[in-house]
Structures are given as C-alpha cells and as structure tokens.
C-alpha cells in the first residue's frame, strides 16, 4: 500500500464579504461585471477546496514552527519508561504526574501553571487518523469547557517518526489554556507530547513550548 508522506493541515477558514451598490450600469458593463464575478467564484472555489486535508501541501502556518531538532544544550531531558524523551528548559521542574509519564511545569505564584509539558505513552484508542477528534474529546472528558480546535495536521515530521498534532483551547476550573498536543509514532513506540500554557500568556511561552515539541522523541 502506498503511503503519502506529505503533511496535511487544517486550520479555521476565513470568510470574505463584499458590499453591493445599485445596478445602474449599461448592458456592456453588466456583462463585464458578470464575468468578473464568475472568475472570482472560480477562484474562491479553488482556494477553499484546497484548504482542507488535501494531502499534497507542505505544513502550513499553524505548524510551520515544527522544525525537528535536538534541544538546546542547557535543557534537561525527561525520559519515560516507554523510551520517549521530553526536553525542558532550566527553571522548569517536574510535577506530579501519572505513572509511566513525565510532566514538567513552569509554576507561578500559588502553583499557577505558566507552562506545562507532558510525555505519555499511547494509552487509549487514539490514532494518527482520529487525533484531531480524539484530543478535543479527551479534553471535554476531563470536564473542561469551551474546547475549541484551532488547527490540526497529520503526517508531520518529528526527530524520530511522524505525528498528528492539534492546537486547541479549553477552559478548566482555574484557567483557559492553549495547547499543542501531538501523537507521534516512532520506529519502536507511539507517544503523546503536550505543551500548554495559559491562553492569556501564550505568546510568552510559545517559543519554548514549540521548541520542546520540536525536540520530542516518541
């Protein structure tokens, strides 16, 4: 069976609006207008039909930051029993986590999560194909509210293997978080990497979180 190795990306589509004006044109002008409208319609159809999982597009903007690379030398590395490694920067520290997983966080005052990284071996029915539905559903199952998928992609390249990723937002009992969550399959194992931060402070942590995801090995 042939396997497509090209990443596919889906992001929230934008829409365009136009204004109209009274029809006071001559028949010739009307013909020109009709032609222009028809051409525009063709172009719009072409653009929108290419916005989904076309299967032949490079990773687009939502995941353009994903550049597989080793972490910076100063970063520490957490390894889980299944073999996955999660790198994190100085100042972050391990926090309580499920057995067989690794979680590190940048904690603010009162234990506030200013940043969060987690590596977990595949442990449920998640697959590369269903990840864009599975992960938001999982977050809803955690009791979170207002779960909103911002972008998803499949077949993205990692340091070892390929993965499906989502970017989504959800609200817990304490804060609204944005996360990057990827299911990555390597030669020997499949694991999930999660990188999250409060949505309000996302811009402050985005580069660190993206670097951690880019250096993840499943």
């Amino acid at each position: 069976m042939a396997v497509t190795r090209t990443p596919t990306t889906t992001a929230v589509r934008t829409t365009a609006t136009a204004v109209s004006e009274p029809m006071t044109r001559t028949p010739a002008k009307v013909s020109i207008v009709v032609g222009v409208v028809a051409l525009a319609a063709v172009l719009i159809v072409g653009v929108t039909s290419g916005g989904g999982h076309s299967g032949h597009r490079p990773a687009s903007a939502p995941f353009a930051w994903l550049q597989p690379a080793a972490p910076p030398a100063a970063w520490k590395v957490a390894r889980i029993p299944s073999g996955a490694t999660l790198a994190y920067p100085p100042g972050w520290r391990p926090v309580k986590t499920d057995a067989g997983t690794a979680s590190v966080a940048l904690l603010g005052s009162g234990g506030r999560y200013d940043g969060f990284l987690n590596a977990t071996p595949k442990s449920g029915r998640e697959t590369a194909a269903n990840w864009s539905r599975f992960r938001p559903d999982h977050n809803r199952g955690e009791g979170n509210r207002n779960v909103r998928l911002l972008a998803s992609a499949e077949n993205l390249a990692f340091r070892s293997g390929r993965g499906s990723c989502v970017i989504d937002i959800y609200t817990t009992s304490k804060a609204t978080f944005r996360e990057i969550a990827c299911l990555v399959s390597g030669p020997d194992s499949t694991a999930v990497v999660v990188a999250a931060a409060p949505n309000a402070g996302w811009e402050h942590q985005a580069a660190t979180l993206e670097r951690a995801v880019s250096s993840f090995v499943p």
Partner: protein
Amino acid sequence: MVAFGGAWFVVSPSGAQVPSHAAKASRAGHAAKPAPKPAAPKPAPKPSGNGIPQNNGGDQDADNNGGPDDGDGGI
C-alpha cells in the same frame, strides 16, 4: 360485591359481566383513568469522559486540579 349471602355482579344488557370499577366510573359520568405508570428510574450520572477526577482527586496530577491536561488516552 358480596351481599345478602352471595356474590353479585353487574351485567350488561347482553348478559356479560361488567367489571365493578368500570361500573362505578360509568355511574360517576366519566371514563376510568388508567393506573399511573411508575416513575422511570433516573439514569445514573454520566461519568465525565475518562472519569478523570477533579478537585485534587485521583492521583493529584495537573488535570485533577484545574491545570493543563496531560496526554493520557483514557486510562
């Protein structure tokens, strides 16, 4: 009903026995009401997806405390 040393029944003009409660209802001038159905049992509370406890439940990790969700897939 039992009276005068024997059992008495209400019969229709054709001679068929009419149940006593129907006869009473007929005399009262309105139809007999069906017996009320027993209330359906309430469904058990739906567990929240993976059953991840909140309020520092479970293993007290991040997603039990309003923190970010980890990557567990449902176990």
